[in-house]
Symmetry: C2
Subunit: 471 residues, 2 copies
């Protein structure tokens, strides 16, 4: 596919659609729209123009213009993505959803929130909580990420073990399709088999099939009691081995089940500038349980705590109030930022395997790290089989870094696929993992994805260069 | 699309693929493959040939043959569908999955069951339970329906209020695509954003996008305590009004929240040949709660019971053991069969609205029934906003039945759409609601469905005449 360049004529048309103040062509101002949280320069790319529409109608007009002129459109949320999914790798228009930042409704009769895409996940969570509800989506980036980005990537996060990923909470979306058509898929019905499940085709499609302009998300009653456990281990193998044990033991579904290895703990200490309990531990396991029965919550965490102690846990710290809980989660949540203290450039991976294989996956990653003499701190949602393994560049030269990175990723992905796993559990493919996906995914599945993309976006205008190449 | 007729040459090829014993051409033996549980003769259609493959490879060969010869293939589970989705309305091959009836694995480390599509839902449930797990899919037809059919229609059922529909439990499928390609989508990873969510595009696509040959379904720990409440009301309005109240009250998510009106109760009494408690009540509300804490379960049902009594409930019968629970559910589950005692021919609808609108939907249905002087017993999953409203033909003549049915459906659907609802919550579109869907669905959404269908099945070979017409 060959795309055209943005002309002054196109810029004038964009200005007439969204207003002059909402079109950016100044290079300095555009720079931030050329990158996301992927730290490597190779995944940054300058937009030709940035537009900030305020409603679906404007987005529709932009899409029609882009189709007519054959210029790419890259939709963008808060830019907190970890796969270069919102970066305009082929130039063209960056369509920022930052101005569509209103919560439209909290429907207490149906337990739904209706929101625009540019609201931060944190605001969604806080608004729900203020009304006595839980919005269970909870990526570590909640404070800054947009709910629209969560929908686009089907964000996972910390509560997915019990409550599922973003997808589970989304029952409807208003979408502007690549051709400019505006459509509402689903809504406030909690069941619906009237035609194909297009809502969940949109969720996780990384802005390649449509631009989500309104989101119907399900709220739940807020669990009355929550407790967190922090369990340090002196042996990384013991720590990771406890994960599948907890997940199959005693009928308890924890809300969260997180893992942090020693490098991740040390990075958090450095970043937070504070000593963590057992900061020299080989690994932490963090478990959250919740429910409406205080006694049941207590029984559950006692059962899990005992299990940990019997299997090598050094101690069990129980946090059953907001402030101690916050302390634990601060250490876990800061992973991405903390690692920058050790190595400003890194490559964060997001592999996922069946939960029972998580010890084998971690063992393999550590073996690969050893083999290539590279630090790969591991941390993440072990209860989901999802681990963020982050290759640190540190002081490596450009050439050596790319060489070793390619080799490490190739071996890591191979192991993951051999274990029945996949490239990404929650960060998505974007531009960053597109080539790897083409290599590792069954060609039949790859063709299905291509066919669907082509069917809904025949000019390949929307977020090209992401997820899959279409010819 | 014009299809070719089945020739003796095609039959010979089919015999060489699946073996002579697994090809049926005898009219009498084929008859049962020409209908499902829709009772009207207009939704029955004789197959030209029935084949019973035993694996994905054979299905792949059949699909390749069908594409080459341009003959339709209609996949079929147990034939318990309620939308003429498995009926060969355009003739051709009926592909029965009855021989693919093995449970392949119960994976206790990952809490997954892997099964072929021809296993009954009841066997899936019992196998899970025997190992201490819950498979939470629970359509009323569980004893006879196939799990593959549940996946094809995204079956809902009784536990969907708390646990969601079939879709929520499915994390992977092996599928034979319309062109004969075999592919595994998803698997045992509980999170996965590696490419589009094709698993949930397949679930609920009613066998129009692929034939599911293997299913990876998630098991859960079996809740330790379960209690059911049966609450009779002397006023149908009071009964239905309690539904949204329960759903938003006190942070309790019931497992089930069912509604039966007086006609449904009377039909059940007739069918079961036994008196039900308060059999003359205007309506029943049935509520199930479950959990691991006996005390919590008791608190929950006491809260709900009190709420019902304060809002017009005549009495609260509590069933906290298997046998009394079975008694309640027998009356609820037999709805479809019981109605045949009153009217052998009927038209069962499956409308769904946001839960808060369920009283308005029921009121409208009763008003329409009055206006057209037709009995429309209502029963169903009120906690999901999903009601089965069944138009009874009784002694009406053929012409008058069709005339009144068309008018009633038109008015009913109009009300449902005005309330933010949809045509089908769990039974699907099939052939029966295809024309209504084309009339009521946003044309943009309809076109998306058409584009996807065409992209994955360019010859329109797989289950044509269902869900949507493609040109």
């Amino acid at each position: 596919m060959r795309y055209n360049r943005i002309t002054t004529g196109i810029i004038d048309e964009l200005k007439s659609i969204v207003g002059e103040a909402n079109v950016i062509v100044d290079r300095e101002k555009m720079e931030v729209y050329g990158r996301d949280e992927v730290s490597e320069a190779m995944w940054q790319h300058m937009p030709e123009v940035v537009v900030k529409p305020e409603n679906a109608r404007q987005i529709s007009e932009i899409m029609k213009l882009a189709n007519r002129e054959l210029v790419p459109v890259t939709p963008r949320g808060a830019g907190t993505g970890l796969a270069a999914g919102a970066v305009p790798v082929l130039g063209g228009i960056v369509l920022s959803l930052e101005r569509m930042n209103r919560i439209l409704e909290v429907d207490k009769e149906n337990l739904f929130m209706v929101t625009e895409p540019g609201v931060t996940t944190g605001e969604v969570q806080r608004t729900a909580r203020a009304e006595g509800y839980l919005y269970a989506g909870d990526p570590c980036s909640a404070d800054s990420s947009f709910i629209g980005g969560n929908v686009a990537t089907n964000a996972g996060g910390n509560k997915a073990v019990k409550y599922g990923t973003t997808s589970r909470h989304i029952f409807g979306v208003e979408v502007v399709l690549p051709n400019g058509d505006i459509v509402t898929l689903g809504g406030k019905c909690v069941k619906n088999v009237t035609g194909y499940d297009l809502v969940h085709l949109m969720v996780g499609s990384e802005g390649t099939l449509g631009i989500v302009t309104k989101i119907y998300l399900k709220l739940m009653p807020l669990p009355k009691y929550v407790a967190d456990l922090l369990v340090p281990f002196d042996d990384v193998e013991k720590a990771i081995n406890i994960v599948p044990v907890i997940m199959t033991h005693g009928g308890i579904i924890p809300t969260c089940l997180e893992f942090m290895d020693n490098l991740s703990i040390k990075a958090a200490e450095l970043y937070l500038n504070q000593q963590l309990p057992y900061g020299d531990a080989a690994a932490y396991v963090i478990v959250e349980v919740d429910g409406n029965s205080e006694r049941q919550v207590q029984e559950d965490y006692e059962t899990i705590g005992k299990l940990c102690l019997e299997n090598g846990g050094l101690e069990v710290f129980v946090a059953d109030n907001k402030s101690t809980q916050e302390r634990i989660w601060k250490a876990r949540r800061c992973y991405a930022e903390a690692l920058r203290m050790i190595s400003p450039v890194y490559c964060m991976e997001d592999i996922v395997v069946p939960v029972s294989q998580i010890p084998r996956a971690l063992e393999a990653i550590n073996r690969i790290a050893e083999k290539y003499q590279i630090k790969i701190p591991c941390c993440g949602h072990a209860g989901d089989g999802n681990i963020h393994a982050t290759l640190l560049r540190e002081n490596r030269g450009e050439h050596s870094w790319h060489e070793v990175k390619e080799k490490v990723l190739e071996e890591m992905y191979r192991v993951v696929y051999d274990l029945g796993g996949n490239l990404s559990g929650e960060h998505g493919i974007g531009a960053k993992r597109k080539d790897a996906m083409a290599r590792f995914m069954d060609p039949v599945q790859l063709n299905m994805i291509r066919s669907i993309k082509k069917a809904l976006d025949p000019n390949l205008i929307l977020n090209p260069g992401k997820v899959v190449d279409v010819f």
